[in-house]
């Protein structure tokens, strides 16, 4: 087929606009001002601990502001302590001194560093940063408060244990509690095991607290306030920075980048789809998780006659951050190859995908029809919906026969993208679906308007490589020459090299034990010098130096913090 300037109406296959006509849309509803979004952002379990912390702050303020209150608290501590001291026996003292070791620096070091190690091994970096930040934060806050209060150790009682510094709040209790709570929320999956873990922590902290009071190392209010700090800070930190719904603790299966779509979020998605898009949802299921790392893909079954499907992708702030890190990494590794500006908000991220979908669909590329955006939590979570290619198979699957027609169809997609001034930028087997003998292009998030010629050439090379994994380079090259000239094909293979090929494509070629790139090069009548993908600029050098410096400073600061916090 000859290249065209305007998109054809795709008369050869089934019409693209098929699904929306069958999708029953009714009962759309505008959310009135003041009404909560489908999934309001709120702390649930941390609320009580925040309230307890608020109470503690008030008591502290009273103690700071009034000498009488402070003396009253100390006297209250002393009266309780007197009672504990009267219980002292040699045997019980031995037991309590053993229990006191629970709060020793070595216990904390072992717990802390073993948790860090486990989180590193499982590459759970978000949990790692939150854990380290929470524990160091508790130590820092504890030190600050101890300095502010400068409260003595229990007065009038013989102190039988080791201690360092001022008494209030209890540092061993605060740090052990924070470490244990941090371990629980970063290592133990949600469920019965975590509930048991909470009980274990309560017992351990209670034993440590009792021993500290019995040995007169701390007064009762010291250990209580220490425990409140030790629970509240990690709990709130994990709830806010690594919530289980977004970053569940799992072992052995599942990708942590994917959001949990059951429970409240599932209900919110259902409500959002019904209110904002006017579809009646029968079922929502995660779909094709393994092929997506940048969002949570879902298949939505919509009620109708008969029921039909929508494809949906859930985007959250975690995906926004992942996108930022990905782009920073690319800039550092290869320089600014093309427009790699990160997105500022989740809304913009999802708008980009919606725009790309509409652009490609309008350009006549056989890509999914966009169906709309659903707001789940304003500025934090959005769902983008589009046509689901029911019955389609990935081009890499064994059942798909890649013949001349399929090859032509795939290459025609590239030609159409070129003509429309677009690049897909992620041509790989998972993004090429075959249904009823036609190739469909999906996952258009990375699509770019007026890309560099280099990027367009890479799209062509990647398409030819994908097609060749299921046929032969000779066949693909022969068919490609019907739509592209030799110069264009030569440019494509000069532009593409290892890292410009999506990892799935590289893996497919590796599994076949073939160097398809070299095979294509041998077919070319003439070679074009390889296009360098490294782009050097003052900005890139500065950025690399800045990142290296920042990493060094962060490392030194972390080591210094760990040392002063007694963790080294």
């Amino acid at each position: 087929m000859e290249p065209t300037l305007r998109p054809a109406s795709l008369a050869e296959g089934e019409p693209v606009r098929t699904r929306s006509t069958r999708m029953a849309r009714s009962g759309r509803r505008r959310r009135p001002s003041g009404e909560a979004p489908p999934l309001p952002r709120a702390l649930i379990t941390g609320r009580y601990w925040l309230a307890a912390t608020g109470l503690v702050v008030l008591l502290w303020l009273a103690a700071l502001a009034s000498r009488t209150t402070n003396n009253y608290i100390l006297a209250f501590d002393l009266s309780l302590l007197d009672w504990a001291v009267r219980l002292r026996t040699d045997a019980l003292t031995n037991v309590m001194q053993t229990a006191h070791a629970l709060g020793s620096r070595w216990t904390i070091r072992v717990l802390f560093w073993s948790t860090v190690l486990v989180l590193l091994v499982f590459r759970r970096f978000r949990h790692l940063f939150v854990f380290v930040g929470a524990v160091v934060g508790v130590i820092a806050l504890n030190s600050l408060l101890a300095y502010l209060f400068m409260r003595p150790r229990p007065l009038g009682a013989e102190i039988l244990g080791h201690w360092t510094g001022a008494a209030h709040p209890s540092r061993p209790v605060a740090v052990v509690t924070a470490t244990l709570v941090g371990m629980l929320y970063s290592l133990v999956p949600l469920g019965r095991l975590r509930q048991r873990g909470k009980q274990v922590i309560v017992v351990l902290v209670a034993v440590l607290s009792l021993s500290l009071v019995y040995l007169a190392v701390h007064g009762p209010t010291d250990v209580v306030f220490g425990a409140i700090i030790g629970v509240t800070i990690p709990l709130v930190a994990f709830r806010m920075l690594a919530p289980n719904e977004v970053f569940p603790v799992t072992y052995g299966h599942g990708q942590t980048a994917h959001l949990d779509v059951s429970g409240r979020r599932g209900q919110a998605i259902r409500q959002g789809l019904e209110d904002q898009l006017g579809v009646q949802v029968a079922e929502i299921k995660p779909f094709g998780l393994s092929g997506s790392a940048g969002s949570t893909p879902l298949r939505v079954c919509v009620k109708g006659d008969p029921n039909s499907y929508l494809f949906a992708k859930l985007y959250a702030r975690s995906h926004l951050r992942a996108d930022r890190w990905y782009k920073l990494g690319r800039t550092l590794l290869y320089g600014r190859l093309e427009d790699e500006k990160p997105f500022n908000t989740v809304r913009r991220l999802v708008q980009q995908e919606d725009y790309a979908l509409r652009l490609l669909y309008g350009a006549g590329v056989r890509s999914p029809e966009p169906f709309g955006i659903v707001e789940i939590t304003p500025e934090r979570e959005y769902l983008i919906t589009f046509e689901f290619f029911d019955g389609a198979q990935e081009i890499g699957e064994a059942e798909v026969e890649v013949d001349d027609a399929i090859i032509d169809d795939g290459l025609r997609i590239i030609r159409r993208l070129w003509d429309a001034g677009l690049a897909h930028r992620d041509i790989k087997p998972a993004n090429l679906l075959v249904r009823r003998g036609r190739v469909h292009l999906i996952d258009v998030f990375f699509a770019e308007v007026r890309p560099s010629p280099w990027r367009q050439a890479v799209d062509l090379a990647n398409m030819m490589l994908v097609l060749a994994t299921r046929s032969s380079p000779e066949q693909v090259y022969r068919r490609a020459r019907l739509q592209f000239n030799d110069d264009e094909i030569a440019e494509a293979f000069a532009a593409t090299s290892g890292i410009t090929m999506p990892s799935q494509l590289r893996k497919a070629m590796r599994e076949q034990g073939r160097d398809l790139h070299a095979e294509f090069l041998r077919l070319l009548p003439q070679w074009t010098p390889p296009v360098s993908i490294q782009r050097w600029s003052v900005r890139r050098v500065g950025l690399m130096a800045g990142v290296a410096l920042l990493a060094l400073v962060a490392l030194l600061a972390a080591l210094s913090t760990f040392e002063s916090a007694g963790l080294l």
Partner: protein, 196 residues
């Protein structure tokens, strides 16, 4: 609504912290000062007393000459340490260590400038025009205080005079009395057996 509450809480916190200097804390200030608002002893000195419960005297800072500051206060059971920094003779020019026992080495006994104490002094090294290192030990019932001197200047041992004037002692009995007065008799410094 929530933001308003948070702002109110932050204001309260700031107001509370701003008031701390007005004496709400436990025997301000937070340095081992010998006197504060007419009383002998501060919260840090009480902690020191708890760290070395046998000591009859407790080291403290009388009056710092211009250019000297207290730093690195560390108190744990059995050992107390703090430093004096100087803008002339260097950081940690004096390290004060307070324990129940100390090793005197080759120190020579000299007349003590504080009652109920014995003073020993030694010169460790002298780098003419550059550095002076030495030590002063005070022994008293149940405790020992060492001033480790490290003057990095051409003044040699001359700053020692300032140091000896800057540092002093609070008798334990006086501190006990201060605490008694402060708390209206509710807070004893030592356990009953020790104080008797």
């Amino acid at each position: 609504m929530r933001r308003g509450l948070l702002v109110a809480l932050a204001c309260l916190l700031l107001a509370g912290c701003a008031q701390q200097g007005a004496g709400g804390g436990f025997l301000e200030p937070r340095e081992p000062a010998c006197r504060y608002q007419g009383r002998q002893g501060t919260a840090v000195v009480i902690l020191m007393a708890q760290a070395v419960p046998t000591a009859s005297q407790l080291p403290c800072v009388e009056l710092l000459p211009a250019g000297w500051t207290v730093s690195d206060v560390f108190v744990r059971n059995g050992r107390v340490r703090f430093s004096l920094d100087s803008d002339r003779v260097g950081l940690r020019a004096v390290e004060v260590v307070f324990q129940q026992f100390c090793t005197l080495g080759e120190a020579t006994r000299v007349p003590s400038d504080h009652p109920d104490t014995r003073r020993y002094q030694e010169v460790i090294s002298i780098e003419p025009g550059r550095r002076y290192q030495g030590a002063v030990h005070y022994l008293f019932q149940g405790g020992c205080v060492t001033y480790r001197l490290d003057f990095r200047s051409d003044e040699q041992a001359r700053p020692l005079g300032e140091v000896l004037l800057a540092l002093g002692f609070v008798p334990r009995d006086t501190l006990r009395q201060t605490l008694d007065d402060f708390s209206g008799g509710k807070l004893p410094l030592d356990p009953p057996a020790a104080s008797s």
